[in-house]
């Protein structure tokens, strides 16, 4: 049996298959489909300092092999997360990485400080990339703002830190570089791509929020390209997320240079997938002759012509 454990600087995971923020609820919703303790890690829905009502429906619409969403970080706020969900999550026997979003640097720091004091979390993922929250500053499009948030959080919070990057930038390697230098233990690539969907007969947008974020199999080639570009250029462990639909997608990301992956939209349309991928990874690595999963990370070979 190949060794599936991975280490991303200070973040230690029993295996590289995690589930993505906003696609797994608070894990309770998935308990009937996935053996939760077997997952490499769970990243619950993004938490904001105060409750957010979220965007008006329709909040999702299907596109060709993809899903557009504008949920708008509907959540009950940090206090409710700690009271209602944290104990349950920490009792599941797997790594729990809380995901937070703030409107400004100060909000990120205050939440990180508070969560850092909660015993048992495996890490913190900074959502500096949500495309559905108007009014807030989009930290993730600017290397300096990205660095400033990551550095600030590192000073106030001892948890391993993951910066979740937006793909809606000209050069994602510059943002990844900034996050790494500021002390991120890993970067998650990527959040959703801005998109929209129109009902032309009624001359109306379909989403209540007009625009939303595209996810699902449709985005995988683009995210794969981004993972490869960052892996080549920036010495930081990568968690890849985008359109994973089966075990081959997982291995493609690992070969491109990701140390771990997250399953997102597939949790909605194939809710038992995440659990099955762990066994399938084991088999795939064994048949590729790997003793451990680290052996396959970043092994892409470009033929010389």
């Amino acid at each position: 049996m190949p060794d599936l454990a991975v280490t991303l600087n200070r973040l230690h995971l029993a295996n590289p298959v995690l589930v993505a923020s906003g696609t797994f609820g608070y894990a309770r919703e998935m308990a009937g489909f996935v053996p939760l303790a077997r997952l490499g890690g769970i990243i619950p829905k993004t938490i904001t300092p105060l409750p957010r009502i979220g965007n008006p429906p329709p909040r999702t619409v299907e596109t060709a092999s993809g899903l557009l969403n504008s949920i708008g970080l509907d959540n009950d706020g940090l206090d409710a997360f700690i009271e209602k969900h944290l104990d349950y999550l920490l009792g599941l026997g797997t790594a729990v990485i809380a995901n937070i979003a703030g409107h400004d640097r100060d909000e990120f720091l205050r939440m990180a400080e508070r969560l850092g004091r909660c015993q048992g979390l495996a890490g913190l993922e900074l959502n500096i990339s949500c495309p559905n929250v108007s009014g807030g500053v989009d930290f993730g499009v600017d290397p300096e703002m990205t660095a400033s948030v990551v550095r600030g959080v590192r000073e106030v919070c001892g948890l391993p830190l993951v910066a979740k990057l937006t793909p809606n930038v000209t050069d994602i390697t510059a943002i990844a570089q900034a996050a790494a230098q500021a002390g991120a233990d890993a970067v998650t690539i990527a959040n959703t791509f801005q998109g929209m969907s129109i009902d032309w007969r009624q001359r109306r947008p379909i989403l209540g929020n007009v625009v939303g974020g595209l996810s699902g199999p449709a985005i995988k080639p683009i995210v794969l390209r981004m993972v490869w570009q960052v892996a080549r250029k920036v010495p930081v462990p990568i968690i890849a997320v985008g359109g994973i639909d089966g075990i081959d997608d997982v291995l493609e990301y690992l070969v491109a240079g990701a140390s771990a992956v997250q399953i997102g939209t597939a949790n909605f349309y194939n809710p038992s997938l995440a659990g099955m991928l762990i066994d399938q990874l084991d088999q795939a690595l064994a048949s590729a002759g790997c003793q451990n999963v680290r052996e396959i990370v970043g092994t892409l070979q470009i033929p010389q012509r």
Binding site: G22, G25, E62, S65, N69, P217
Partner: protein, 291 residues
């Protein structure tokens, strides 16, 4: 429960409307009237997401044991178009049963109100209320004295499943937008008429049958397009008849993970909050919704 099950048969039951029979004793043993299933084609990414469909009814094997489920659907788009091409032996991915189901009726007279494809939950509701079949391990038990089914569609050719429900001793009242069958107009006209004749007015004395029994005289279960359900909810409120609505909100997962299926639910302290229809519904007491 997420499983891949075979199609047993596909039968056209009205214009653009089909009954799909899926073999699965597990799903059939678990399902309650008013609950729903998410259905998709395994392995396909276009269409990608499952789509929600109400339990039409369970079907039984020769020994009377639950053997599978029926859903009835109207072709409106990508997934329902694909579904209409399925035939016996095709394999279909299903997860469920999901949602809360209708409450056990405590009224003497059940008024079922359907608009369009919103008729689908009511066959099983009627069968259960009549005590003709037990669902989800419960024994069959008669709950109501009378059932009236008000059902409206665009035109007669869309009316589905009348032959299934009429034999259960259900009084049918039909309406079509074009007058091709039944009342020429909205199903809500039929509801207004029924309520006027069968419930006390606002200032009336308690009717005699209400005095001799602790059971409320009537209750309404309703499913259909939102404006129609809104109108029925208003009528029910005027006539002080308890009313439950089954919402048809579009869904991405069906089990509470995505937060896409939200509707406005009134809060105890006033105001409203978005709540997930797939886990807190799809059936809500009408007065709890903020339209």
């Amino acid at each position: 429960m997420q499983i891949i099950v075979p199609v047993i048969e596909q039968v056209r039951v009205a214009r653009d409307t089909y009954r799909l029979r899926l073999a699965s004793p597990e799903l059939a043993r678990a399902a309650l009237p008013g609950q729903f299933f998410m259905i998709r084609s395994p392995g396909l990414t276009n269409p990608l997401l499952g789509r929600p469909f109400a339990l039409y009814d369970t079907y039984l094997d020769d020994g009377g044991n639950p053997a599978g489920i029926d859903v009835v659907y109207l072709v409106v788009g990508k997934m329902t178009g694909l579904m209409s091409t399925w035939s016996a032996g095709d394999r279909v991915e299903v997860w469920g049963p999901l949602g809360n189901g209708f409450p056990t009726p405590t009224a003497k007279h059940l008024l079922l109100v359907a608009g369009g494809i919103g008729n689908t939950p009511f066959l099983a509701v009627a069968r259960a209320a009549r005590g003709l079949r037990g669902y989800a391990a419960a024994a069959a038990q008669k709950r109501v004295d009378n059932i009236t089914f008000c059902y409206g569609t665009r035109s007669a050719e869309y009316l589905a499943g009348l032959d299934d429900i009429a034999p259960l001793g259900v009084e049918l009242r039909l309406a079509t937008d074009d007058g091709s069958r039944g009342h020429h107009g909205f199903v809500t006209d039929l509801v207004a008429d029924w309520l006027l004749k069968n419930t006390p007015g606002d200032d009336a004395e308690q009717p005699s049958h209400a005095r001799t029994s602790s059971r409320p005289p009537a209750a309404i279960f309703c499913c259909g397009p939102e404006p129609m359900m809104h109108a029925v909810a208003r009528l029910a409120e005027q006539h002080k008849v308890p009313c439950w609505l089954s919402l048809e909100t579009p869904m991405a997962c069906g089990f509470g993970a995505c937060f896409s299926c939200v509707t406005k639910v009134k809060q105890p302290g006033g105001g409203w909050d978005y709540r997930r229809v797939c886990v807190e519904g799809p059936i809500f007491p009408a007065e709890s919704l903020a339209f």
